[in-house]
């Protein structure tokens, strides 16, 4: 899952991306408003974390343009301003949530999860596939009531496959979704992650099927 952080403070942006990458998200950082606007046009992001006080193009303007382009990705506003009007204005312009600096990280994580769940999982708390079950809130994967120990990359890939159940996702798509500008994930790395996932899932009657030219998809191995 790919998140864009539009934040001009590099220290904060770096810290956030470290924490969020650790959670298995792919993170890009846009230090100016113009950068953020340009990056968003690619349409590859699942979530935007937006600081309102950005140089060159302010956060509210980015938000307005985003919604004018009819892009529906969830937006979490992150700002030092906390007057009610700022908040209301942001939400009116189509932001989905609002958190003021300095924030507690667990809260930020919870809100990100909630936003993603709402958008990607249509608010479903639990996605099940065969014996596999994925908690969209805690992002914990269990199979036969047993918690699977997955790396961040493996979790990211599995999430992508779970989002597109019944549908094949090719390697390039997956690569796009899990990599970010400064962390180019190679096709090879994806292949390795899928290989590891297969290993961990095979005991639970689930496999990842590769069809040539189409890509990967989850299947129950009868």
């Amino acid at each position: 899952m790919r998140i864009l952080i539009a934040e001009d403070d590099q220290l904060l942006a770096d810290g956030l991306s470290m924490v969020l990458r650790d959670n298995g998200y792919a993170i890009d950082i846009a230090p100016t408003g113009a950068d953020a606007d340009a990056a968003l046009m690619s349409g590859i992001y699942d979530l935007l974390i937006l600081d309102l006080g950005l140089p060159s193009l302010n956060g509210l303007e980015i938000l307005k343009r985003l919604r004018d382009r009819e892009q529906t990705l969830p937006v979490l506003i992150l700002t030092a301003r906390d007057r009610l009007e700022d908040r209301v204005l942001g939400l009116d312009l189509g932001a989905n949530d609002y958190i003021t600096k300095p924030f507690a990280l667990p809260e930020l994580e919870a809100r990100i999860r909630a936003l993603l769940r709402k958008n990607l999982w249509s608010n479903r708390r639990e996605i099940t596939f065969g014996s596999l079950s994925f908690n969209t809130a805690s992002r914990v994967v269990t199979a036969n009531q047993q918690v699977l120990d997955l790396s961040a990359r493996e979790l990211a890939v599995l999430e992508i496959l779970l989002q597109r159940l019944g549908q094949a996702v090719n390697k390039d798509q997956i690569t796009d979704l899990v990599s970010s500008w400064d962390l180019e994930v190679t096709g090879n790395a994806i292949v390795i992650a899928i290989h590891r996932l297969r290993k961990k899932l095979e005991d639970h009657g689930i496999t990842i099927k590769a069809s040539r030219g189409l890509g990967y998809r989850l299947e129950e191995s009868s």
């Binding site: 403070d9 220290l11 904060l12 810290g15 956030l16 924490v19 009610l84 600096k101 300095p102 990280l105």
Partner: protein
């Protein structure tokens, strides 16, 4: 701002200045005119009385009799008496021979007798027994002996002349003085009247509260004072923008802290995840607490800056204190549960309408409830109530540690904290409460709880009707 500026002693009030600059020259002129008038009056009096003196001399001359060798005056005693006691003045007469020796008459008229050749009557002043006298002398031909010449000298004291001169003088000087006085009075009134706008201006400015920096009405000031009013307004404007920029500075500074603090917290969180041993964990925990305090301080500073007067009224509207207080109290239930405190709220059945800034009011309630929870030991209780009466009352009561009686005023000072509570805090909570209460026209009271345990903080808000609200706005 009650302390009056001491008027420096060498600057007179305008009224006195104007009046004295008019009156002093007038009075000097008046005195000069008195001197001139006196001199002229004496001249007039002399003219008049000298003529009479000549008349007297003539009547003496008309009474002269001669038998060729001897000369005498045939003046009946009654006439003599009249002559001697003419009005208020003593009259003397004398008949002198051609060479100036006395022939008969009063001997007391002093000499010297000079200028006997002159045909015209002669006048001179002299002194007799300490009184000034006027002497007139005429030249007379002896009846029946036309070649023979004698002199008649008449003298009189000066009382009548002086009286006349004084009367003339007074009749000129008194009306003048009256005129000057009337003029002074009307000038005084005029000055006073034209200073009324200045006094109104003074009243208007001195009645203001220290936070009222709106411009002074210029149109009411007389034109001469207008530059002063303009200058004052200019100063007020600069002062206002200075205060505003100070406040903005604090707010901005507090804001500027937020992003680095957020970054710091992010790294601490990440480091905690990475930490592999307990020691590292506890160090990170300490750093976390420190960061938390800094966040707290910057939040309080920001709240204080927002509560300050120059920010007033921008966000004012009619609000329901019931709603605000219950929302805020509810938001503290997790913290209270964690500390095993019982928190209750009881509001009014109807909305508790007051006129104010909802965010600042929420801040006020937050600080009071936060204190009550912080300074009450586990197992205690905190009660938030709204009560109706002449005013709308917000009461936050706890049965915690309480505030010592002699510190109940100091706790409203910025950064003041009661020693020994061992609780984290910045000492800005109650100052924020006071500031917000002030800007809402509310009063804060702090008492000990029932039976001397704990604290009761009450905030009395004025009830807000629509008209009052407008009024409040206008006063701003």
């Amino acid at each position: 701002m009650k302390n009056q500026v001491k008027s420096s002693s060498n600057i007179q009030p305008i009224r006195i200045q104007l009046l004295s600059s008019l009156l002093i020259p007038l009075l000097i002129l008046w005195v000069i005119s008195a001197a001139v008038a006196y001199y002229l009056a004496i001249g007039f009096a002399d003219d008049a009385y000298d003529r009479e003196l000549i008349n007297s001399a003539d009547s003496v001359a008309a009474r002269l009799r001669t038998n060729g060798t001897k000369i005498w005056a045939d003046i009946p005693p009654a006439a003599q008496a009249i002559l001697h006691y003419n009005r208020q003045d003593q009259i003397y007469y004398q008949v002198l021979s051609q060479d100036g020796t006395r022939i008969f008459g009063d001997a007391v008229i002093p000499g010297p007798v000079t200028g006997l050749q002159a045909a015209e009557p002669m006048f001179r002043y002299a002194s007799l027994e300490g009184n000034k006298i006027r002497i007139a002398r005429i030249r007379v031909q002896v009846p029946d002996y036309p070649s023979k010449v004698i002199f008649v000298q008449v003298a009189e004291t000066l009382h009548a002349r002086q009286r006349l001169a004084e009367q003339i003088l007074l009749s000129i000087m008194i009306p003048q003085l009256v005129l000057i006085c009337l003029g002074a009075a009307s000038i005084w009134r005029g000055i006073t009247r034209s200073l009324i706008p200045l006094k109104n201006l003074t009243d208007a400015i001195s009645k203001r509260s220290q936070t009222d920096l709106t411009a002074v009405e210029e149109s009411e000031a007389p034109r001469e004072v207008r530059p002063l009013v303009t200058a004052i307004n200019d100063l007020l404007l600069r002062l206002k923008s200075e205060i505003e920029s100070q406040r903005r500075f604090v707010a901005n500074a507090a804001h500027q802290f937020r992003t680095p603090l957020a970054a710091l917290k992010t790294y601490i969180y990440y480091a905690k995840r990475l930490a592999e041993n307990e020691e590292m964990d506890s160090v990170l925990e300490k750093i976390d607490i420190g960061t938390e305090r800094m966040s707290h301080l910057s939040n309080k500073l920001l709240a204080l800056a927002k509560a300050e007067p120059s920010n007033r009224f921008d966000h004012y509207r009619q609000v329901d204190l019931n709603y605000i207080a219950s929302e805020i109290t509810a938001s503290f239930t997790p913290a209270a549960t964690k500390k095993n405190l019982e928190v209750t709220f009881s509001g009014l059945d109807s909305p508790a309408l007051i006129y104010g800034d909802p965010e600042n009011l929420a801040e006020l309630v937050t600080n009071l409830v936060e204190n009550a929870i912080l300074y009450t030991k586990p197992g205690g209780r905190v009660a938030v109530r709204i009560a109706n009466g002449e005013q709308i009352k917000l009461i936050v009561e706890d049965n915690g540690t309480g505030i010592p009686k002699d510190e109940r005023e100091e706790v409203f000072e910025r950064f003041y904290r009661v020693l020994g509570t061992n609780m984290p805090g910045s000492g800005l909570g109650l100052p924020i409460v006071k500031e917000i209460a002030n800007s809402h026209g509310a009063r804060v009271s702090l008492e000990e709880g029932n039976s001397g345990i704990g604290t009761i903080v009450s905030v009395y808000f004025p009830k807000q009707t629509e008209s009052l609200a407008n009024n409040f706005h206008l006063k701003a």
